[in-house]
């Protein structure tokens, strides 16, 4: 196991270096200048401003400068969104709110989704199954923008149960955005669990368990659910990364100081160091989660062997 993880860690570093390299050069192909008022400056003056951010150097020099900084954990400074602000600090300060609503949304969505999926599978082809499927379809198909706006209008403005927007009332502020984010994992979990459960419930060992006199509850949770989890874990991992690292739409609608919105904005305005910083941050997150998911497979289902049977 330790050897396996060690090997994976080395792969992770290589993957990261490749991602950073590709992003760096792709980003430099982006049209437009990071100097916001470029249109107002003469070419000489613009050259002076660019030199301040090292943008006048040849591309390979810029690349090695950046990678060398990266090795030391330095993500550089923002060029135009927060002039001179340290990108590491920016990411750290923006990560909290994104992670909080993402985590809450993920937990809420997964729990409700799993329950819905299980009930639907156990009561296949009844009204319970149909309404659970309907909820899953709605959750997948309504864009989060519409859902977030509706939540804000009805639960915030009309009923006044929760703050309309802004990040200042602690947990209460996080409720609506979390619900908005929960819809997607909810729908996904419900669909996967239902499909898998139906398949698992018809397999031989379930029949055996029933024949041995296990109660319906025991069969459902102890035998069927565990096996139905595998495909869910596969999709939930990467989805968790997407949600925990913030959603442009939900953060924007609820005016939350999160990181998802920064990522998109930085590309729009060519703020190179923020593009790089957020991309690397997301990549690290994703790679680590994939590793965790792989390890989880082994725990959930011992039949899946991680190290390819060498040991």
């Amino acid at each position: 196991m330790a050897r396996y993880i060690g090997k994976r860690l080395i792969y992770m570093v290589i993957t990261l270096a490749l991602i950073a390299t590709f992003t760096f050069f792709l980003m430099k192909i982006l049209p437009g200048s990071p100097i916001a008022s470029a249109s107002k400056l003469s070419p000489e003056q613009r050259a002076v401003v660019e030199a301040r951010y090292g943008l006048n150097e040849p591309l390979p020099v810029q690349y090695f400068d950046y990678m060398f900084g990266l090795l030391k954990g330095d993500l550089g400074i923002s060029i135009n969104q927060f002039k001179g602000a340290n990108v590491t600090d920016l990411i750290l300060s923006r990560m909290g709110p994104s992670a909080q609503i993402g985590f809450q949304g993920m937990i809420l969505g997964t729990i409700i989704g799993v329950l819905l999926g299980m009930v639907a599978a156990l009561r296949q082809n009844t009204w319970i199954d149909y309404s659970s499927t309907l909820i899953a379809i709605i959750g997948i198909s309504i864009p989060s923008f519409v859902f977030a706006t509706l939540l804000q209008y009805w639960l915030g403005v009309k009923l006044e149960w929760f703050p309309v927007a802004l990040w200042k009332d602690g947990f209460m502020s996080s409720v609506l955005p979390s619900i908005a984010l929960a819809m997607f994992p909810l729908a996904t979990a419900a669909r996967f669990i239902r499909t898998e459960m139906i398949e698992v419930l018809s397999s031989d060992y379930i029949t055996l368990a029933k024949a041995k006199g296990s109660s319906g509850f025991e069969v459902a949770f102890k035998h069927a659910f565990r096996n139905a989890l595998i495909p869910l874990v596969t999709v939930l991992g990467p989805m968790a990364v997407g949600i925990l690292t913030g959603s442009l739409v939900v953060e924007q609608v609820f005016a939350i100081p999160g990181i998802g919105e920064q990522f998109v904005k930085s590309i729009m305005v060519n703020d190179f160091s923020i593009i790089m910083g957020t991309t690397i941050f997301f990549s690290v997150f994703l790679i680590v989660v994939i590793l965790i998911v792989d390890i989880l497979y082994g725990i959930i289902d011992p039949r899946i062997r991680l190290s390819g049977g060498k040991n």
Binding site: S33, S39, E44, V48, Y53, F82, A165, Q252, A255
Partner: protein, 570 residues
Amino acid sequence: MKNSKLFWLMSLVLVLSAFLAACGGGSEEGSETPEKEKEDGTSTEAPAGEPDAVQELNLMEGAEIPSMDSAIAEDSVAFNILNNVNEGLFRLNQENVAEPALAEGEPEISEDGLTYTFKLRDANWSNGTPVTAQDFVFSWQRAIDPATGSPYGPYMMAGTIKNATAISEGKMDKAELGIEATDEKTLVVTLERPVPYFMSLMAFGTFYPQNEAFVTEKGDAYASNSDNLLSNGPFVLTNWDGTGLKWSMEKNAEYWDAETVQLEKINVDVVKEPGTAVNLYTSGEKDRAGLSGEYALQYADNEEVIKELEPTLFYLKFNQERNGEKTPLANENIRRAISLAFNKQDLTDVVLANGSLPANYLVPTEFTFDESGADFREVNGDMNEFNAEEAKKFWATGLEELGETEVTLELLGGDSELAKKMDEYLKSQLEENLEGLTVNLKAVPFNVRLELDEAQDYDIQNSGWGPDYQDPMTFIDLFVTGSSHNLMSYSNPEFDKLIEQAKGELAQDLAGRWDAMAKAEKILIEDDAAIAPIYQRGVMSLQKPYVQGIVSHPFGGDYSYKWAFVSGKE
């Protein structure tokens, strides 16, 4: 008097608000009166002018603060806050006329109009140290120093303040800049050429002073959050962590004119989604919300709506030379045909519907006034108004001259919903009125458009410009031959000469200069049809009736809260 028109407007507003108050009261008996409206009705009935005990405003901004360093700032959010927490030699007053602020009275101006001697009033920074003439010298030199990397420093100073151009290009030491502190309270500024609008420049953020000791002590951390900032204006910035979505402005007790300032605190949150801003306004959390796009249409008849005209002008640029080859737009009749062929009134009323005005001019209306207070627009009036019949005639002549029956042109524009909608409309108008014309739309993000503009890689471009100082020149000199904003190969020696005269020999002959600029505008639009004006931007906002005295400005910071107060909220 420059102010007469505004005074007249103000009194009209007062009379109108009295009417509105009466109406508001009456609507209480109306059949469909939700609770919200009742509250508003009563609040407008309260006598405006009696400030409440609690003086706190809750406002929103559309973006974060990129930098609070006046030498580095280049965006509207930062300039707006700078205008409220800092102050320069002059400040735009409630009538948008630059009046002495840190300067004690008008400066002494030398005969040749090149040397200004300012006396400073006794004023303090928010840490209690006095604002000195040296603070100005320090900040101006810092803004022009290439090492600072200031975008607006060179832009505002080059060609205006003595030696600024050479210093900004690293060819001269910053100590050579035309600014000198002869003693603690005396500042002597030397200009490159006489600048008739110099006072209004002094109200612009880039020319604010900075406390040398403080800036040096903080080093790179200067202006990185509200603790690393000093104010010398009506308010102090607080609760700003440098990258966050919220901040406050609190009354500055050290401000020399603190007794005028009534607001104790302004709480600002960044809300980027227009719908969210409206919801926060409706739920009563915020006192003012901008209305854009569909929200402008939806709330157009709401009685809490205020409309403001901005001095920002949008126009079509006709590129006469692309990739070294002449475009069909090099033909004057083709250009004129296009500039006459779209209905601007319908565009502003139906497509934009946000209080914008159709523009048949370049220099915006309600922006600059001559000595007698007459709007620059009264001199030149309207040019190239929509006229489909005329357009068709010019089009036919133009095609004949080109020897073509069909022309395909690319229209380059922004990628916002509104910009796309507008360009669709222009395309349909042009293709409908000009037979044989095909318009291909190209929608790109702002910085990509700048790049294409610079490479002169477009046929027609939907472009906009806002002023950087209060003078028609900020618009007109964009189009002189070889200007870094021309970028469409327009060149008319007569036009260039008028601009040169206005900047040179006529600089101190105000009437003659005004006349030269008016003639130049006429040549540009009417004679040459070099550009086709489209509209002057208007903005609509919702504002609670208890909010009083927010002043909006045509350039520099968008708003002043110095004179604002809350009346009738409770």
